[in-house]
Symmetry: C2
Subunit: 227 residues, 2 copies
């Protein structure tokens, strides 16, 4: 750890050209992934740029070179997660089968949490802390998203396809139940004694949730043979 004036240390990862922005792309990906983990674990304030840099295997300066500053990096991660969420249950209409839609919702939400557990936790941490960066999103986009779906649910109720339950609370119920397995994974593992949640577990949980929730709000299971 004395003087190392010579540049004969670890080669950096390639500099200069490397055609196009390939270096940039690779490093940014690496940094975003590392940052998602660290932010998810410690929250915005608790996460340090240094820790993110170490997780990405890069010097702190390099992280800041690509991301500008901590805040920007964080916002970028939130936006990435919002995009993933927005793609969910994109278009449903009154004509669809409630059972199919609800099951699809539960299933895709479970998969989202499973595929991006850190992103999921990042989101949770942000909201837990009062959503300082997401206020607008919650009161805008997401609110629209929820209310659009809620309206469809209401129409199903009117047509007698499901019990008269508040659709917004139903959405929250599904949200929370599915979110739980990503956000509280540590707890789930600790209590069940497992050391990981397997694909089989996910499938079983999905079916459990689907069954209980569909039955719970009086939706008749999908009309068997679809199509």
């Amino acid at each position: 750890m004395t003087d190392v004036t010579e540049s004969e240390t670890l080669q950096p990862a390639r500099q200069g050209g490397e055609s196009n922005g390939a270096t940039r792309e690779r490093n940014e990906r690496e940094i975003l992934e590392a940052a998602e983990r660290v932010f998810a674990q410690y929250g915005y304030r608790g996460a340090s740029v240094q820790a993110i840099a170490e997780a990405a295997g890069l010097p702190k300066s390099n992280v800041l070179y690509y991301m500008g500053n901590k805040r920007g990096l964080y916002v970028r991660l939130l936006e990435r997660m919002m995009a993933r969420w927005n793609a969910l249950l994109d278009d449903i209409s009154v004509e669809d089968d409630p059972a199919e839609v609800l099951e699809a919702f539960i299933r895709s939400k479970m998969q989202l949490s499973r595929r991006h557990p850190e992103g999921s936790r990042l989101f949770a941490a942000e909201i837990l802390g009062g959503a300082p960066f997401l206020q607008d999103y919650l009161r805008g986009e997401l609110r629209e998203w929820v209310q659009t779906r809620a309206r469809v649910f209401e129409q199903w109720e009117e047509r007698g396809l499901m019990d008269p339950v508040d659709p917004v609370w139903l959405i929250f119920l599904i949200w929370s139940a599915t979110q739980h397995y990503a956000d509280f994974e540590t707890q789930v593992l600790g209590i069940t004694g497992k050391d990981e949640i397997s694909d089989d577990d996910v499938e079983r949980i999905t079916q459990f949730l689907t069954r209980v929730i569909l039955k719970g709000c009086g939706v008749k299971p999908a009309s068997a043979m679809p199509g």
Copy 2:
């Protein structure tokens, strides 16, 4: 901000005697309350002793005088919350009515989250971060708690009082659904457009959850007139 050798500043809050440990009690209460808020919002690392001190309206030194150090303060808060949780659904037996027990569980869990939203969020943040301080509790006490209840649920199933669902996942479902309204309060408010969750809302949510979950796992509503 120059020299103020004279002690003619704000009076401290009373020093010296004040009989017994009344000062200690009052200050500790104040600090614990403030710390719960701050830790809940920022997580363990993100919270600073300085911020806690300001929230409690005391100098940082004073907080450390009472609590020793940040870690100890945090652990104390976790323990307080564990105690609250342990008191929940303390004794149930196979002889009890499933509907009544489940409703009592949902109701008391909702009230716990409502009465101690910060504690609830503190807990959530701790688990979100991988439960570095709570591993033992999760794999020990809490696991026992869950499995004891799960065994009762299983016997209910055998007696045909409810559908054959995995009782542990049922507990998680209830846990997550109720926890949601405390942990994600910001989200709930943002989406519904409310500016607070009223007692009425809590009652409605409780009834909604009770209805959907009981029906969802085939439990017959309480046999009307109790006692």
